[in-house]
């Protein structure tokens, strides 16, 4: 054992009291640093370490191996590369380093020895010295460490045992100790309670948040009701719900009983063309409908659109949570292989097996349903109500997908986070049950949220330039789900979250303060750690990794997507709007109908709406969606758009992103599911992190040269260094971009670009134009380029540098003609 091993101890002997030991050490050595340079969290102690270990890098990290030291603490398995820079002791604590994995994320520990592979359980003992340690994680990562011959055998064995014994295959209770290990120290509690909430996003937690959303969407005729403020009307609904203005709270109260779990129709989002998206649970059929009730129900359902309501039935065509769970577990098995035996699906059966998991089918089904709804909403002036039996799974998927498709705001990182808050966290998706952190509720487990993330990834991969968030962000969110640390995911509804925060008293913010409800015995213990929100990314990811969450270039005002005709893009709204006010249609299996029992109160004997009902179009008159295909394809663009801007005019930013859904177009999220494929080889990849992309290198060189110029001429020119900061920003952005593997530029420019090229302003680019025909004029030199909607690629890339250059150019390039005679330049600079 090496020097400085004071904190390590024989785990096998000490195991029974590890927990006490950990707890007793909490807070003792705050902000400690292990002798090998690992920066520990307050209260975290290193249980074991092994030197000269190599970690296998994924394709994203550049492949190959990196050597360093492996640690096991009571919270994580950490790996510190040899040459990693010393962390700043005063920086805020980051729970996990770039190479770390939380113990709670680990699903299985496998060691590879000479010619054999063994699954290591807390009780197993090894008869050989492992050469390789493989950690299979819940988030589908596979982390592989290779022990060197120089690693002492004792260290290899000890760290293997330690990890196997401390990672704690989940059982009720272990989650709490994990949370305590991470967040339980006094310092951490203090740190977390002082954390400021991200104010750039909407948290949808109070009435004001909803007001803000109503305003953002321009939704009039709706109001925020606090009728459920004490969760008396519905336990699973949030405190604030948005309902039609004309319905009074007293009227509203009577409606809750008509819906499953009291989940009445609530407003989610308004399409800019005036259609509203609502979601609701199924009707309670065995209830008597009073006349007043019916009026209220109709008002709630129709919202502000008195004419038309389409109920979209979600249960029938979309997978049930059980289906999702089955598909996901099959996908896991397929992508990871049989963990303990290293047996995987033969190559020639790979695609067939992938197909038989049905995961892609389900993704497609969700996207198709959302596309249908998005197209319906585009028709304008109708109410679309998503209906699911309990309104807590698939309607979360569909309503949020619709908004991702239609609303550019939801494709930004903060917008997306707000969307998840709105449609999932506060809307009462049962994260806690569906993720099943405690492994005590296997029947209800279903990664519905992961299905949603996959759908978003499909959209992102088909429209890379229309998203501000990146697949790195989606991946980070995907991985965070499996970490039982975040208040966002450790509850089933807002009520549970609030209950916990009340127990914790006033010292914690409501968001951060909720804790596992199942541990009633300790729920009143104020020492329980306050849980952070998942959106507090700096807790989990370094600045470098967080920079990758967004595209360096904001998406352009989008082009109209290509309508490929595999979806209905324009349901016959003429026909629909021609119908009598108060008509309700059912959209199911791609076609409209109006079954008589759609609204239970209309089918009964109440008879109020019988007359109009009889006149409503019969189902055979309502054309199927597929048949409307051509009608749309030949239809004109909506008025107003084409009129203002010509045929190529600025396209409606709310035009939905309709994904292609054919077999070949639905991709497997390889970066997520195949991160640890057993067959991945360890050859080094030419694209490594320390090999920057040429554009980046060029940008860097431009910067270097500029600095050099500034340096050279500093005698004559007192203020050139001022220009360094901005171009450097461009540089880092480029860097991000190449690492993202996404495209640097949005697909095309905003309409402003269609105007004739402006002559370059004389000040900055004269020397460029003088050099014979330049390939083109760099648009940023165009005056006022920021006005044309921004986000023009040239604006971005040249923007900063040309600003800087404009200044320097005036000094360094005295006359256009001089550019060809560099010698004379020098003299002019010297002057």
């Amino acid at each position: 054992m090496l020097t400085g091993s004071k904190t390590t101890f024989k785990v096998r002997q000490m195991l029974p009291d590890i927990k006490e030991r950990m707890l007793s050490q909490s807070g003792v050595n705050a902000r400690s640093r292990d002798v090998f340079g690992l920066r520990c969290l307050p209260g975290e102690c290193v249980l074991q370490r092994a030197v000269m270990v190599r970690k296998k890098l994924t394709a994203r990290e550049g492949r190959g191996w990196v050597s360093g030291t492996l640690f096991c603490t009571h919270f994580r398995v950490a790996f510190l590369p040899q040459d990693s820079p010393k962390a700043d002791d005063n920086a805020d604590p980051v729970l996990l380093g770039d190479h770390d994995v939380a113990l709670a994320s680990i699903e299985k520990v496998v060691v590879v020895g000479p010619n054999r592979t063994k699954l290591v359980t807390p009780n197993s003992s090894l008869k050989f010295t492992p050469e390789e340690l493989v950690l299979y994680c819940r988030d589908l990562r596979v982390i592989c460490f290779l022990f060197d011959r120089l690693t002492p055998d004792a260290q290899v064995l000890e760290i293997t045992y330690t990890i196997a014994k401390t990672y704690q295959p989940p059982k009720p209770g272990s989650v709490l100790s994990f949370q305590n290990a991470a967040l339980g120290s006094v310092e951490m509690k203090q740190f977390l309670s002082n954390r400021r909430r991200n104010t750039h996003m909407n948290w949808f937690e109070c009435a004001a948040d909803w007001e803000q959303e109503l305003e953002r969407c321009g939704a009039t005729g709706w109001r925020v009701s606090s009728v459920n403020d004490r969760f008396e009307m519905s336990t699973s609904l949030p405190r604030s719900i948005v309902v039609p203005q004309k319905v009074l709270d007293t009227e509203l109260k009577k409606s809750f009983a008509h819906f499953n779990e009291g989940r009445i129709p609530r407003w989610c989002w308004r399409h800019p063309r005036g259609s509203d998206l609502l979601r609701m649970a199924s009707f309670q059929n065995n209830i008597y409908h009073e006349k007043d009730d019916i009026r209220n129900l109709e008002m709630i359902l129709f919202g502000c659109q008195s004419s038309l309501c389409v109920v979209v039935e979600l249960d029938e065509e979309l997978p049930s949570p059980a289906d999702v769970q089955l598909a996901h577990s099959r996908l896991r098995a397929l992508c990871l292989g049989d963990i303990s035996t290293s047996v995987s699906v033969p190559d020639d059966k790979w695609l067939s097996t992938l197909e038989s998991t049905r995961w892609l089918d389900y993704t497609r089904a969700c996207l198709r349903k959302a596309s249908e709804v998005a197209c319906l909403l585009r028709g304008g002036h109708l109410t679309v109500a998503l209906q699911e039996a309990d309104d807590r799974d698939m309607s979360c998927v569909v309503s949020s997908l619709v908004q991702v498709m239609c609303d550019p705001h939801c494709r930004t990182q903060h917008g997306f986070q707000g969307l998840v808050q709105k449609e999932w966290v506060t809307a009462g998706h049962r994260f806690y049950t569906r993720i099943n952190y405690h492994r005590d509720n296997d029947k209800e487990e279903a990664p519905v949220f992961l299905l949603f993330l996959d759908c978003v990834w499909q959209l992102l991969s088909q429209y890379p330039s229309r998203f501000q968030l990146t697949d790195d962000f989606l991946l980070a969110l995907h991985d965070s789900i499996h970490l039982p640390l975040f208040s966002s995911f450790l509850a089933n509804c807002q009520r549970e979250r609030c209950k916990r925060s009340q127990n914790l008293g006033q010292s914690y913010t409501p968001v951060n303060g909720w804790r596992d409800m199942l541990h009633q015995d300790s729920s009143s213990d104020p020492s329980d750690p306050p849980l952070p929100s998942v959106w507090d990314w700096s807790l989990q990811y370094s600045k470098h990794r967080r920079d990758h969450f967004t595209q360096p270039v904001p998406p352009t005002p989008p082009l109209q997507p290509l309508l490929n005709g595999n979806l209905n893009t324009n349901p016959d709204t003429h026909r629909l709007t021609d119908t009598i006010p108060g008509s309700v249609f059912l959209l199911s299996r791609g076609s409209f109908s109006c079954p008589s029992n759609l609204l239970p109160w209309r089918s009964g004997s109440s008879g109020v709406y019988k007359k109009s009902h009889r006149r409503a179009p019969s189902s055979e008159n309502v054309p199927g969606l597929e048949r409307l295909l051509k009608a749309w394809a030949l239809a004109e663009l909506p008025h107003g758009l084409s009129a203002t801007s010509g045929p190529q005019g600025p396209l409606d930013p709310y035009e939905p992103l309709l994904p292609l859904l054919m077999g070949p177009c639905m991709g497997l999220w390889r970066e997520c599911y195949l991160r640890g494929a057993l067959h991945a080889q360890a050859f080094s990849h030419p694209i490594s992190a320390n090999h920057p992309h040429p554009v980046e290198r060029l940008a860097r060189e431009v910067q270097q040269l500029k600095d050099k110029l500034a340096q050279v001429s500093s005698g004559a020119n007192p203020n050139p260094p001022s220009k360094t900061s901005e171009p450097r920003r461009a540089d880092t952005n480029l860097n991000q971009n190449t690492n993202n593997g996404t495209f640097l530029f949005p697909a095309s420019k905003p309409q402003g670009a269609a105007m004739p090229r402006a002559p370059p302003p004389a000040t900055s680019t004269n020397h460029l134009t003088s050099r014979g025909p330049p390939p083109a004029i760099a648009p940023p030199s165009r005056p006022g380029h920021k006005d044309n909607g921004g986000s023009n690629k040239h604006t971005f890339l040249f923007g900063h540098s040309s600003v800087a250059e404009a200044r320097s150019d005036q000094r360094y390039y005295p006359a256009p003609s001089n550019a060809k005679l560099p010698k004379s330049n020098g003299s002019s600079i010297a002057s």
Binding site: H685, V702, P775, K793
Partner: protein, 656 residues
Amino acid sequence: MVSGIKYFPEYRYRVENLSIVVTTPFSYLFPFSPTGSHVEWCKQLIAATISSQISGPVPSDIANRENKNLPALRYGAQVIMSQNQVPLLPGETIQTTVKDVMYICPFSGLVNGTLTITDYKLYFTTVEKSVHIQESPFVLDVNLGVISRLETISVPNQGENTKGLELVCKDMRSPRFAYKTEESHPDVVELLAKHAFPLSHGLPLFAFLYKEQFPVDGWKVYDPTAEYRRQGLPNESWTISKMNSTYELCDTYPSILVIPTNITEEDIKRVAVFRAKHRIPVLSWIHPETQATIIRCSQPLVGPSDRRCKEDERFLQIIMDANAQSHKLTIFDARQSSVAVTNKAKDGGYESESFYPNVELNFLEIPNIHVMRESLRKMKDVVYPTIDEAHWHSAIDQTHWLEYIRLLLAGAAKVADKLESGKTSVVVHCSDGWDRTAQLTSLAMLMLDSHYRTLRGFQVLVEKEWISFGHKFAARVGHGDENHANSERSPLFIQFIDCVWQMTRQFPAAFEFNELFLITVLDHLYSCLFGTFLYNSEQERAAKEVQTTTVSLWSYINSQPEDFTNPFYVDYEHHVLYPLVSSRHLELWTGYYARWNPRMRPQVPVHQTLKELLFLRAELQRRVEELQRDATSHSLSSSSEHSPAHSTGTPLHTAV
């Protein structure tokens, strides 16, 4: 430029059924540019078919910029527009025009229009503006070389004298037409057959009629001596031999061969007798450091009685000795071992390890050309005309196409690994050494040598390993030949390009060329527009004077390299690329195989983005150079102490 309307070259044409589904953004475009070079036109045509193209209007100043930058505009000849608006290539003549033809589009129903048949292509366009005035005309352009066979089909409900015609194409599509038979019309089928299969009708291939002038001469791309000199040859062990200059030694080999120095001409002749088709072991590539070599040849004629050939055994011994790093030699027999054994009965066979000391023999178990042909045929059923959404993946599995791609890549990776890690020379052969051997050696060389991953280098690789070493392009593709059922046909070159594409997917920055380049190469494999892929061997091409009478595909490509360049390219000079060959990491190249399906087109014009990047890079580079010049001059004028500091600012290798 027409009356203030911006000129968008990429979108003048709408290929296939696009017009029905796509809405108006293209509509105001002037359908054809009255001016513009053929190169430009040709490029657009291909561009229009490439999946990533069709997606949105090009921002105007990009289009303008493009025009300015293209050398093609300066050098290329003008496209001749015939009276009825059919763009013609130089040397192309219209054979007939048939009105009232219906194109039976598998995606959007019937389209009425005019069919023009030239000696190069079939050109179908809607005459009248369609229902919506804004619609630009629908255009379907099929070059005749791509047609595999013509079939008459029945067209129900269209009247008695309506005939149906299906063009079964080699590039995964089968457009169908319906036309009225009238006496005044010449018979469409007959005329098409005559020009689609000119060799069967005593006519020349269109490549010999094509009169385009390009600024770059693609025939100069490959100079064998220069290429061997680049590899460091000749050296003390290897010599460049002109033994085959008259193709007497081997009629399917190139005239210039690299063979060991210390072997006599007599011995070589004896070896030639012992190897199938006289294809003796010759050097393809030599490792610059270890001197390990890739040798290609055909199977030894061992026969059922296990014949031996002392000279052949000595030959391989010399090859082994030429590499001081290893005392072994590995032979990769691409065939399935069972097939190699049965070949013995047909007078072929494989090297017996007992007769060849220190030789290790490996079988790569790759099925033969007939299996590949069948696999691609199944693939066509999967991707055209309709795609079964629910069973797409299992249908792809059942074609086994990716399985064979995997075998090829794995085999090539083994070869490359043996050379790189094992430092051992490698002999590759199959039966005749012109199909699977070419696939394996060229892929291995692509993995080993970064030069072949450049635009020019790849052309050299194809010229060398495929064209000069006698891959039977004429027989495998069936240029101008109506015998579609010929069992000699097989998509081996497509397989190779597919493998290259798989590698470009896995190493997106390691290749200088882009997907458009690969698709263009495959399109002109069939088109008979260029002479590059015509005929079976160098000898035949010399006899037909291909180089003097036809245009090279590389002339076209190299006249506008920026269109075929990957902006992400970084020259990883000493990197050996080992692709991941598990089928988890292979993808079906839908951008090629399923590109005719309009629903397959991606929504974001990736290709356009790439061009933008290229442009940006050029711009940045120009600035660097500019600043460098100024900085240098400045430092010279001010003081000398700054001048050495500029070493960091060396210009990047950017071929824009």
